[in-house]
Amino acid sequence: MSELIRRCNYFFLYDGSKVKGEGDPTREGICYFYPEETPLDKQDLLCGQLAGVGRCVSELSSSPVRVLRLSRNKYAIRMRDDFFWALGCSVEVPTISVCELLDQLIDLFCFYNGSVRQSYQLNSRETLAARWAQYLSHLQSGSSELHRIFSCLRTIDSTNVDPLLLLKAALILQACQRCPLVLAGCILFRGRVVSTQMSPELTMKVMVHESETYTKAQKPNGPSTSSSFGAAVSSTTVFLTMSELQYLQSTPVDKDFSSHSTPRKDAPLKKTRLSRTLSDMASTESDSSDPGPSQSPQKVSCSPCLSESDNSVFSPSPLQSTADPVNPSPQSPEPPFSNGKHSREAEDEVLEESYYQSFHSNGGGDSQIHSKGDGSVSHLNGGGGDACGTVFDFRGVESGSEKTHDDKVVGDGGVGCGSAQGHKEEVRHPPPCSGSFDNPEESPLIPMTLYLHRVKGLVLALLVEPHFLSDTASMEEVYHSSLASLNGLEAHLRTISPGAPGAPGAYIFAHFDCTQSTLTTNLSGRPGGAPEHPFVRATSLLHSHFCNTETLQEAIIRSAGAAVYGTRSVAQETYFQQHGGSPRNSGIPNHQDSAFSLPSKARHRLLKHGVNLL
């Protein structure tokens, strides 16, 4: 941790409800403080002062504080109910990035743990401290300064990868979606995105769990990887916001609309698309209008949360009940628990649901990152990666035995602890919706399941309905239909050399795709040492400026050291710097000045990187 450039200097969560009385020590309110080795009195001081000033300012302005700046540190702040989060970075980090980082961190926590208040009611501070630390370290690690500026996804270097492999990944995901219980998925290789059907924000959240299991798998004496098979299939409960769920469940045609009509409250409006796959790139228009095989109405009908009326949320809705087959009102403006009448009921249910989860989880409740399945793959026939040539090795999980079945397994009971009893539970508490009541205005969180199937460095991550785990037939179908292709894909990706380090060319560029939240750059992506790079500094400034000025289309800025050109459209931001060839200039306006030829040079040079600025 210490070797990483620490982007975040301080992070803490302070619970003001624990410090109401005059005599209550500040310490009582500190839920988590990073760095943990900070002396306690300094923790007290920072929490007490910042939370105090934050409260005072929010009262004066009748609005929660968002940013607190000091001369040496700046803090992104989130205040919800009595909770006070603060994330402190050095003042050089753009404010917008600090705020994004804090939002990501809190969103991550909620994604894996549900509501913060409930998490702290159900778990010890120590347990949750470990999770905050994990998320924080995940967000800080491994990415370059440029990636941090844009808070973008880390993707495989598509210039090095045969486009057919990307197509293959996309097809695997589409095949999985044939199962009506599968909402969406993504394929990751060594911590980088190969293909995803989810929004960038959601993909980013899923990747935390992936990297966690990956690290565990990598460690020679890791806890759960003693057998040669490892835990190929695992799952964990995750919590989606209403808008995330609605987005996943809407048809691709509607997605553009729904992403506009239900934007996240404080996130900049981003157009998101279903799938970042090659097939999309090839023929964007036709693809998006084609409902495709994965969008059968049946799939939609399995999501009780989307039924038209609030009442149905509370009434038993059997699995096969057919709601509106066309479109179950994905844009229902009101979250199910927005009215107080239902909230208490919902809260009770949430508690029960949570106990249910912890009761049934293997790890005994403390860890929700647990392995439920134990199926694994033995080998791949010929490594050709073609589906019909594979041999399956699927171990029934419920048996727990080491016995392997060749060819297909006939699933009898449920899979893992989901089992028959779990199914009944599902029926008794049909709506797996748990409210996050941290803020009544925010949509409640709905528990879903994240299913992971790992093949060495490759991971298939699927967001599935919770009862997918108890539906043996579906699980097997998904497992078997993807197994061979995953093996093939992994074998291919593994052999790809990590590409020659971008030769120090005549220019540097960075191209950010806002829709897919991906970055293409020829600047060495090594973490560390980057922020003082003139190109990174200029990019960071221009990006902030673009974010704050809607009408701005392009800009050239020049210091004594470098001239950088930036341009943006709704979907992308591109930055370009030409090396060398900058003769003496006085800074006086001069049309022969090389700085002003940057736009045409960028247009010309970036074409070969697939960046079209015309």
Binding site: K42, L45, L46, Q49, G52, V53, C56, V57, S58, E59, L60, S61, S62, S63, P64, V65, R66, V67, L68, R69, L70, S71, R72, N73, V91, D266, R537, A538, L541, H545, T549, T551, L552, Q553, E554, A555, I556, I557, R558, S559, A560, G561, A563, R584, N585, S586, G587, I588, P589, N590, H591, D593, A595, F596, P599
Partner: protein, 596 residues
């Protein structure tokens, strides 16, 4: 919703200014927390109570962490800027989106500058300043705060509406003949006569200048005077505007008015709006800017035959009562900040003001500031006594006489000529010369002077930009362009071009030597976000920049220029850059501007 507050370390309010909305907000909050039956507490108490936790937390953070708050932002985009100057904490708040962080920080620095100009070296001691800013006597305190509040409002108004306060450089009127005549008058008839008078009681006129609204028509400094710093000059213009607000937005005469004044019809005279006196003005009776000016139609000869003082003395502040101001003096030994001067401000004509700066012999500086102040107080008294009876002033050039002479002089010039000059300071037909160019501002940072076409935004007037909403829109673009380029300059970028909507903006900063040779672009220092605002009024960034740049150009006089342009976006960039180049070389040509 706006507020500016100065507090001592013990959370005592030393000064506050709030707009009505902020005041109501505070009162509502305070009212809510008050118990029933109790009346609302005094506003000062409420504001002090509400801000106290923030102020105390500030000192705790400084004491225990060695770090201090610089800003807060809320989710509904209220901005709080905090800055500690010695023992005084300044807090500026905006909750209506009209001011950004930079604007608020600038406001804080300007407030500090005005306090320095008014109180001088006292500001160097927290204790003394506390006494000055918060007199025991509540009436006295109210008067002082009212005065400071009105200065702050004048400044804010100018910053929002006047280009020279946007870029913080003095705008000169380019009217060679008139200007020469005025300078001659200032030199021969005013400064020389006053300074040779035996009765001047040691007071010596150093600088004399004539302002048309906020623009400089003529400036004369006596031979042994040091240069008047741009920062001080801008502060004095704020003070002059505060005494005699010019309503520049509405008073600019349209072409018809000019025609009518040159004809034989009745002359139109503006009566300056009653300005609040320094002593008993109150913020609420301050004339609302933009209100219709009062016109008086009468025979000019009759008018002039009478003692013009009669009409001019309607506004309560007595121009012959000097205001003590503390200005920078640079001599061979070095730079002395905050040296006491007296400022006489005389309204000559509506919107036209004569300012005299006088100084007591400098050898007194060496003794002590307090002796200075004492002597000054005496001097003031004598001057005011001298004005009482006409017998005492016989044979002596009094302020009244000066004004009488000036009035005659101005009359001689002819009103039409005078009224013409506040039309367009840049007499360029730039629309024809530079097709596609919408606006530009050119600043010579070594002298602190700027040239720009006027941006008239009222219905009555037509500038080259047209009028009404369009001009207003372009004005808002220019204002945001300046703030953007400053942000980049702060981070070391001296060239910026932006394509924004239908416009193309350019900004250039460059250095030249005295002969006009363009020097190589050098490193510009990178400053932190909470550094002093870039400008010349409150903190002279460019003076520091020049000093920094000159390190590598020893023995050369380095000059610094800035050019901002706004073009239509459809114009090819090559053409735009050619325009910029032409403007950059043309504007400061000696033939164009005889004053430079």
């Amino acid at each position: 919703m706006k507020c500016l507050l100065i507090a001592s370390e013990s959370a005592e309010v030393l000064f506050h200014w709030t707009d009505l909305e902020f005041q109501q907000n505070i009162q509502e909050q305070y009212g809510a927390s008050q118990e029933e039956g109790q009346g609302l507490p005094a506003f000062e108490d409420s504001i002090s109570t509400l801000f106290a936790p923030i102020i105390i937390s500030c000192s705790t953070m400084v004491d225990r962490l060695g770090d201090s708050y610089t800003s807060f932002t809320t989710e509904n985009n209220h901005i709080y800027i905090l800055h500690q100057f010695d023992e005084c904490l300044y807090i500026a708040v905006n909750g209506d989106g009209e001011e950004g962080e930079d604007d608020l920080r600038r406001k804080i620095y300007v407030m500090k500058k005005m306090i320095e100009v008014l109180f001088g070296m006292v500001t160097l001691s927290g204790k003394l300043l506390r006494k000055e800013l918060r007199p025991q006597d509540t009436e006295q305190r109210a008067r002082l705060w009212k005065h400071l509040q009105s200065l702050l409002e004048t400044y804010s108004h100018l910053r929002e509406n006047d280009q020279s306060f946007l870029v913080e450089a003095v705008e000169r009127l380019i009217h060679p003949t008139l200007c020469e005549q005025c300078i001659e008058f200032l030199e021969r008839r005013l400064v020389q006569q006053l300074n040779s008078s035996v009765e001047r009681a040691g007071e010596e006129v150093l600088h004399a200048f004539i302002l048309v609204h906020t623009k400089l028509l003529a400036f004369y400094s006596s031979r042994n005077a040091s240069t008047l710093a741009t920062s001080d000059l801008l502060a004095l213009i704020i003070m002059a505007q505060n005494m005699y607000p010019s309503n520049v937005d509405v008073d600019d005469p349209g072409p018809e008015d000019v025609e009518s004044t040159s004809g034989s019809g009745p002359e139109s005279f503006y009566t300056p709006e009653p300005s609040p006196t320094d002593r008993d003005s109150s913020g609420s009776d301050k004339p609302v800017r933009g209100s219709t000016p009062v016109f008086e139609f009468m025979d000019p000869d009759i008018q002039m035959a009478e003692d013009s003082l009669q009409t001019l003395e309607v506004p309560p502040p007595d121009p012959s009562t000097p205001r003590r101001v503390f200005l920078e003096v640079s001599s061979k030994d070095g730079i002395y900040p905050m040296m006491p001067h007296s400022m006489y401000c005389l309204p000559l004509w509506p919107g036209i003001t004569l300012v005299l700066l006088t100084k007591i012999p400098t050898n007194a500086v060496a003794t002590s500031v307090y002796k200075f102040l004492e002597a000054f107080a005496k001097l003031e008294k004598r001057l005011s006594e001298g004005q009482e009876g006409s017998a005492a002033t016989r044979g002596q050039l009094t302020i009244h006489d000066i004004r009488g002479k000036l009035d005659k002089f101005i009359k001689a010039l002819g009103p039409s000529e005078l009224q013409c000059i506040d039309l367009d300071p840049v007499n360029l037909t730039y629309l024809e010369d530079f097709p596609g160019l919408i606006h530009f501002i050119c600043v010579d940072r070594s002298t602190g002077q700027m040239i720009a076409p006027s941006l008239n935004i009222t219905e009555r007037t037509t500038s080259e930009l047209g009028k009404g909403p369009l001009a207003q829109f372009i004005k808002s673009k220019v204002w945001s362009l300046v703030s953007t380029t400053r942000r980049f300059l702060q981070k070391g970028y001296s060239t910026v071009t932006l394509r924004d909507g239908d416009f193309y903006f350019c900004y250039f900063l460059w250095f030249e030597n005295e002969t006009g040779y363009k020097l190589e672009a050098g490193d510009i220092p990178i400053l932190p976000d909470d550094s002093a605002p870039i400008g010349m009024l409150a903190w002279d960034y460019y003076r520091k920049l020049l000093r920094y740049y000159s390190k590598n150009h020893q023995g050369e006089v380095v000059k610094c220029y800035e050019l901002l342009t706004v073009h239509l976006g459809v114009i090819p960039t090559e053409i735009i850059l050619q325009h910029c180049r032409q403007l950059a070389s043309k504007l400061w040509e000696p033939s164009r501007n005889p004053l430079l």
